[in-house]
Assembly symmetry: D2
Homo-oligomer: 452 residues x 4
C-alpha cells in the first residue's frame, strides 16, 4: 500500500498546501541553521565562507526525516540529530559554525516562525482573493432583496449585497490582523542554552540582529523562549481568519439548503458536490470543508495559549506541546482560506428565489415598515396596534398583510379615513422601501476594502 | 529530501505507534468494506463468494493514499475514490457487493471505530504495564519517607510508596474506564444514505448485525451517524488516560529537579536525557514527552465534543472536523501511555535524598504531630500554643524544632514539669510516626490493583 | 439597583436551577463539615453529641458568603474562614470536632461532589422526561414521512419518527452514562494535610468509611486530592448530556426555519418566542437557549481535563481553576436539560408540511428506489443509467421524475417494453416505499428505552 | 444564609473587581440605551430633551436584575424586559426615544463593549504596575546570578535580573496588544432588526456615528452582529494578558519551592499564605491564584472563537453562548492582573540562596564556559574532551569541577603544560564570567519598557 502520511485527507484539510509537514519543518530548521552560520560569519565568529558552506549543505537536500525523527527520541526534539547530519555534510573549516551558540529551541522556534510566515502569505493571498470576490458579489447584488433571518426565522428584508459586504468586512479585518502580526511579531529566537547568548560574550545582540537580517524576521528585544505571546498572537490571527471563513461557509450552507436554494456552489467548483445516484443533490462541498477546517481552530488556539505557561528557562512539555498544534493551525487555516477562495468567485446567486422566499412571508417582514408609514397619519400607537392586529390576521389566514388591511373593514375604514389607499400601502409594503441604509453600508464596506 | 509526513515528530508524539495515520485509515476503511461484503453475502444480498472476493481484494494492498486523497476533494471524503479503486479490483460477480447499501459515513465511522479499538488495546497494554510498575514502586517504597508538598511547599511527611500508589490508582481507573468503553461503546455504523438502511428493505437490521459480527464490533440500537455520544465517551476515556499519565509525569519532573533530586529517569532510558556538553544534566525526556502529549488531550476532546452538534442526517462540517482530531487523540494517547510505560519501570528513587530533603525543614513538618503528642499531657490548647511558639522560633533560627523545645527555658520548663523528656519529643518528631494511614492506603491500592 | 449576581442570565443559563451558586457551595461545604463531625463521633474521635451539635450549627444558617469570601483571599480558598465561623457557632465541647483532621481541599472536593450529585439528579430527571417526550414523538410519527437531509440537502426520505428515535437513543445513552458516573464515581475526599490521614493514626480509613456513609457518597480506595479522574468522568458525562440536548436543539432550529416550517416550538412554551412587532416570528427560544448552554460544555470540560495535571500533594492553581468551571458545567447542563424537557413535549410537528417539502424535490429523492425497482426488469446497469438520465432531466425541467419517465419517449419506450407502467412507477416513487428499516429502527429504540 | 452569588469566590477570581457581574451588565445596557436616545435626539429622530430624560431614568437606578432576568426567558435575552422597565420610567414625550430602531443584540453587544473597555482599563493599569515592578526587580538584580533551569534541570547561569526582564517584556507586549485592541476594536453595534438600520431610513449611518460619539466607542464600517472578529481579538488580547501573568506565577511558584527558596511572596502580602499549624509554610497564595485564573483563559477564548460561526443575521445560540464566557474572561483577566500587581512589588528575592543553589551543581553549569576558555590554549576538540571527561568525574564524585581538573593528574598535567593555572581555571568557572549578554538584554528590556 503506497501511503504518505496526511495525504489521505490532505486535499481536504491541507487544501492550501500550507507546507507545514515534515519536509517544510526540515527545510525551515535547515534554513535557520544556515542563517545562523551566515550571521556568525558576518559577526566574525565563524570562518570566512562558513556561512555559504553551511547554507549550501543545508539546501542540498538528502536529509532523512524518518531517520532524524527516530533519533529525536533521545533528546526529545529533532534538532540534535539534524545538527549532526548537517555538520557531517559541511567541510571541516565550517563545521564549527554549525549550530554554534544555539540551543535546540532556538532552531525549532525560528523554524516555526518561518513556517508561519509562509502560511501567513498563503492565507493572506487566499483571503484577499476571497475579499475581492465578496466585493464583486456585494457590488452586483447591492439591490438584490432577500429575507433577513434572525434565529433562522425570516425577520425583515436585507439585500444579498449587504450579506456579501458583511463577509467582505470580516475578511478584510482578518487580513489586516494577519498582516500586522506577520510584519510585527514574527521574530527569530536565539538565546543559547538559557537565554543569555552566553557563548557569544558581548557579541550576542549583534549576532541576533544579523541572524534576523539573514532570515528576514524581526530581532526581538529579548529571547522569547519562555515568553510565548508571539505564538498566541499569531495563532489568534489565524483563528480569526478561520472564523471569517467559517461564518461565510455557515451562511452558504444555510442559503444553499434545498428548501432555501438562494445560492449554490457554482460552476467553478463544477466537479464537486454532484452525485450520480442523486442528481438533485448539489452538495456544498467547499463550504462543508471550510467548516470542517474552521471548527478546529478554536481548540488549536486554546492548545497554544494553554502551552504559554512555561517553566523558567525552558518548559518541560508545554513547549513540545506547541509544535503539532501550531503546524495544524497553519494547515487548516490555509485550507479554510483556499476553499473560501474557490467558493466565493463561483457562487451562484438566485435573486428570483430570494425574492420568492421573502414573498412567502406574506409581507409580514414589512409590518414594522408599514407601521412606520401609517404612524405619520394615524399616530404611532394607533398605527402599531392596527398593524399588529392585521399581522396576526395575516399570519393566521395566510393572506398578504396589505390584502388583509385593505379587505378587512375594521382595518380598511380607519385607513380610508386617513386617506391611505392601496397604492400607498403597497408602496410601504414593498421590501425595497424597507432596506434602510443597506446600500450605504455596502458602499462603505466597498470603500473600506478598496482603501485597504 | 526523504520525507514521510509525521515521521519527524513520530518518535515523540506517536511513540506508541498507534497506527492512526494514512495506512491505518486505509486499512480500516477497506476492512469495513470487506466486512460489509461478507455480511451482505451472509444475508443473501450478494453473490456466493463475493465476501471472500472483496476481502481478498481489500487486503491485497496496492491502494494509493495520495491518489485517493486527491480525488477526495470532489466529494469531501475519501470513500468514493476508495470504493472505485476497490470495485475495480474485484471480479465482476462480486462488484455489486462493494459498498452496497452503504454511504461514505458508514465506512468512515466504522473505520474510526476499528482504529480506536486498536489504539485502545495499545493504550490499555501500556497502562497496565505502567500500573504494574507503579505497584512495584509502591510496594518497594511503602516505608520510604519523604516530604509531602502542597502548593509546592513542604507540608507534612508522606511516603514515596503512597505517591506511587496514587499514580497506580489513577492508572487503574483510567484502564477500567477505557476497557468499559472499548467493550460497550465501539459499534459499527451502517445506515445508508440517511440512516434508514433503505436499500436493504426489511433486511437492514440483519445486515447490521452480521456486519458487526464480521468486524467484532457491537451492533448499535440505531445508526449513530449524527448521534456522536460514542465518540465523546471514547475520547473522554482516552483523555482520562492522558490525564493519569500527565499527573505522573508532572510529579516526576518536579521530583527530578536539580534541587530536589529525589527521582531520576533511570537506567532503562539510559540513552536519553544526557548531554555531552552538560554531563550534570539528566533531562527527564520521557516525562517531558508524556506532558508534551497529554497537554493536548483536553483540546482534542473539546474539538470532538464540539463536533457533536450535527445537523439532521449528516453534518455539514462537524463530522469532517472529527477525523483528524480523533486520530490525533489516539496517537497522543498511545504515545503518552508508551512513554509512561518506559518511564516507570526504570525510575531511580533516591530514598536518602528524600529523607534529607525532609530534614531541611527542621522538623517543622512534624509540628502538628508534636502538638498532638504533647496535648495528652498539657491539654490541647496549651500544647498547640507551645508548639506554635517554638515552631516560629525554629523557623526563624534555623534550628530543629525539638532542639528549640529542649533548649529554650520557656518551652523546656513546662515540658519537664509534665514529664516529657528528650526521648519522647524525638520520638514524636520522627517523621515515621506522622505517616497516619499511609501504609494501609498503599495496601488498599495494591489490593484494588490486583483485584482488577 | 437591586442586583444579585447571575440573576440577570439565570433564567437562561441556569434554567434548571442547578444550585451551583454561592448558597449551594456554602451548604455543601457545611454539610461536609457536619458529616465529618458525625463520622468522628462514630469513630470515637469526637465527644458524644459533637456530631449532632456541629450538624445543627451547620444547618442553622446565618453564614455570610460575602464575609467568608472576602477572607478567602488570605489562604486562597473559603474553607478556613468558614471553619472559623462554624467553630464559633458550636458549643465548646464540640469545637474540637470541627474540621478535625481535615484540610481545606477535603471539604471543597467533598462539597463539589455533593453539588454534582444534586445536579446529576436534576439533569437525569430532565433527560428522562425529555426521552419520554421523544419516545412519544417517535411513536406518534412512526409513519410521518419527511425528507432526510444530508449536508443540509434533501437526500432520501426518512420519517420524523426515526428522527425522534435518534434523539431518544442519544438521551438514553446520556442518561445511562450519567447514572453510572453518579453511582460509581461520586466519592468523599478525606486525606488531611497531605493525603495520609495523619491525624487519625490507624483509624483514618475507618473515618473515611463513616464520612462516606454519612454523606451517602462512595469511599475511595485512596484520597484523590491530586488524582482528578473522577472530575473528568463526571464532567464528561455532563458534556455528553449537553451534546445530546444540543443535537436536538440544532435539528429543531433547522426544521423550524421559515422556509422549512416542519416543526415549531409549541403551545407549552406559548409565552415565548413571539414578537409584537413581528407576529410572523415564532422564535425557537428554548432550542436557542439549549444551544446557548450546550455550546459551552466542551470548553468547560477541556478546562477541567487540563486542570488534572496537578502537582504532588496539592496543586498550585490547577485545583483552584476547577471550582468555577465545574459549577458552570453543572449549571449549564441542568439548564440545557431543563430547556430540552420544556421543548420536546410541546413540539408542534407539521406532517403535511414535511410531505410537501419532500414533494418539492420532484421525486428525485426516490431515484435510488426507482432504480432498484427497475433493475429487476431491466438489469442493474441499464436501470441505473436510465434513471440517472431521467433524473437530470427532471432536475433541469422541474418536473416530477415519474412524469419525465412516462412522457419522454427515450425513457417511456424501454419501460413499456419491459412491462413497467405508470402504476408501478408511481408505487416505486412513493416515499413510503423507500423507508427501509425506519419502522423497525423506531421500534428498537422504543424497546431499548423501555427496557432502560 | 446571606448569599450574593459569586461573592464566595469573588476575592479569588474577581480580585480585580472587574465589574462584569449583573450590576455592571445592567448599567452598561442602560448606558447603551441612554446613548442611543441622545444620538436619536441629536439626529433629529427624537424629541428635544428626550436624550437627557432617558439618560436620567437610566442612571436613576431601581432596576431589578432578578425581575428582568426572570422575564428574559420569554425572549431569550434580558433586553426586552429592561426596555419595558426603562420606558415606564421616562416621561411620555421621551418614551418613543427608548430603544427606537434598535434590536436586543444592538444593546447587548454595545454593553459588552462597554464592559470590555472598563475591564481593559483595569487590566492595563494592573499590568502597567506589574511591569514597573518587574522593571525594578530587573534593575536591582541585574547582577544577581542564579541557575538557569531548562526542563527543570540546572543548565547554565543566568541572572534574576534577566528573568525579571523576561517577565517585563511579556507584560509590556500584553499591554501593548490590549491597548491597541481597546483603541481600535471596541465599537458600538447598531443595526436594527437585521442589520440594515431600516427604521432610520437614510439617517442610519449618522445615528451610528452619533451613538458611537456618545459612548466614546468607535463607529464600525458595518454592523457586526454576526461578524464576531472584534470579540475574538478582544478575547485574544485578554488571554495574552493572562498568559503573561501565568508565566510569572509559574516561575514564582517554582522558585518559591521549599527546596529552591530563591523567592517568596513577601511583606506586601503579609497576611497571606501563613498557617498557624504549619509556621514553616509560606504558601505563594497570590501566584497560585494568578494560575487559578490564568489557566481558564484559553478555554474561555476557545468558547468565544467557536461562537463566531454565527448564522445569517442573528445566531441561534452561538451569540447567547458568548455572554457569560466573555464576562468570565474579563473577570479572570482582571483578577490575574490584580494578583500579579500585588505579587511583584512585594516579591522577596534571596540572592544568596540563588548563588548557593547554583553552587550545589559543583561548577558543572560552567563546563561550557571552561571548555571555551581552555580551547584557546588546547584547541577546541581537546578542550571539550578534557572538560567532558572531568565533568563526568565531578558529577560522579560530587567534587567541584575545577578541583577535579586541578587535582587529577590526567587533567592537571596537560593544563599545566599549557600554562593554565588554578587562578585562570577558577576565573573561567566563575558564573559571572558565563552570563553572556544578560546585562545588555536587561538594559534593552528596560529601555523598551521606558520607551513604551
Amino acid at each position: 500500500m503506497k501511503t504518505t502520511d496526511r495525504a489521505l485527507f490532505g486535499a481536504l484539510f491541507d487544501h492550501g498546501e500550507s507546507g507545514a509537514g515534515d519536509a517544510a519543518w526540515l527545510s525551515a530548521m535547515l534554513e535557520a541553521e544556515a542563517g545562523l552560520a551566515r550571521a556568525l560569519e558576518r559577526a566574525g565568529l565563524a570562518a570566512a565562507g562558513a556561512g555559504a558552506a553551511v547554507t549550501s549543505a543545508a539546501r542540498a537536500g538528502g536529509f532523512d526525516a524518518a531517520e532524524i525523527g527516530t533519533q529525536a527520541a533521545a533528546t526529545g526534539n529533532p534538532v540534535p540529530p539534524l545538527v549532526r547530519a548537517l555538520a557531517s555534510r559541511v567541510p571541516a573549516f565550517a563545521a564549527d559554525a554549525v549550530h554554534h551558540g544555539a540551543t535546540s529551541q532556538d532552531i525549532m522556534d525560528t523554524a516555526a516562525m518561518l513556517l508561519a510566515r509562509h502560511a501567513a502569505d498563503l492565507v493572506h493571498a487566499s483571503l484577499t482573493a476571497s475579499a475581492d470576490a465578496a466585493a464583486a458579489l456585494a457590488t452586483e447584488h447591492v439591490r438584490t432583496v432577500m429575507a433577513g433571518r434572525t434565529l433562522l426565522q425570516q425577520a425583515v428584508p436585507v439585500t444579498f449585497g449587504l450579506v456579501a459586504a458583511g463577509w467582505l468586512t470580516a475578511l478584510d479585518e482578518a487580513c489586516r490582523q494577519l498582516a500586522r502580526v506577520r510584519s510585527e511579531r514574527l521574530a527569530v529566537q536565539l538565546g543559547g542554552a538559557a537565554g543569555t547568548l552566553s557563548v557569544f560574550g558581548q557579541s550576542g545582540p549583534e549576532v541576533v540582529r544579523l541572524f534576523a537580517e539573514e532570515l528576514g524576521l524581526a530581532a526581538p528585544v529579548l529571547p522569547w523562549h519562555t515568553n510565548r505571546l508571539r505564538v498566541i498572537e499569531l495563532a489568534s490571527a489565524f483563528a480569526a481568519c478561520c472564523a471569517a471563513c467559517g461564518k461565510i461557509a455557515r451562511d452558504v450552507t444555510l442559503l444553499a439548503q434545498s428548501e432555501v436554494a438562494e445560492v449554490r456552489e457554482g460552476s467553478e467548483s463544477g466537479a464537486r458536490g454532484g452525485s450520480s445516484a442523486m442528481p438533485h443533490k448539489n452538495n456544498p462541498v467547499a463550504s462543508v470543508l471550510v467548516l470542517g477546517c474552521a471548527k478546529r481552530a478554536p481548540m488549536l488556539l486554546a492548545s497554544l495559549v494553554t502551552a504559554a505557561e512555561q517553566e523558567l528557562q525552558r518548559a518541560a512539555g508545554a513547549w513540545h506541546a506547541e509544535w503539532e498544534p501550531l503546524a495544524d493551525m497553519l494547515r487548516i487555516s490555509a485550507s479554510a482560506a483556499a476553499w473560501t477562495a474557490e467558493l466565493l468567485p463561483g457562487l451562484d446567486v438566485d435573486a428570483d428565489r430570494m425574492r420568492a422566499n421573502l414573498a412567502t412571508a406574506h409581507e409580514l417582514p414589512m409590518a414594522e415598515q408599514l407601521s412606520a408609514a401609517l404612524s405619520r397619519r394615524l399616530g404611532r400607537l394607533a398605527a402599531m396596534d392596527l398593524v399588529t392586529d392585521a399581522s396576526r390576521e395575516a399570519a393566521a389566514s395566510g393572506r398578504d398583510l396589505t390584502e388583509v388591511l385593505l379587505s378587512t373593514p375594521r382595518f380598511a375604514q380607519p385607513l380610508a379615513a386617513a386617506g391611505l389607499g392601496a397604492a400607498e400601502l403597497r408602496a410601504a409594503a414593498d421590501p425595497e422601501s424597507a432596506l434602510g441604509a443597506a446600500q450605504q453600508l455596502v458602499a462603505a464596506a466597498l470603500f473600506a476594502h478598496q482603501a485597504g
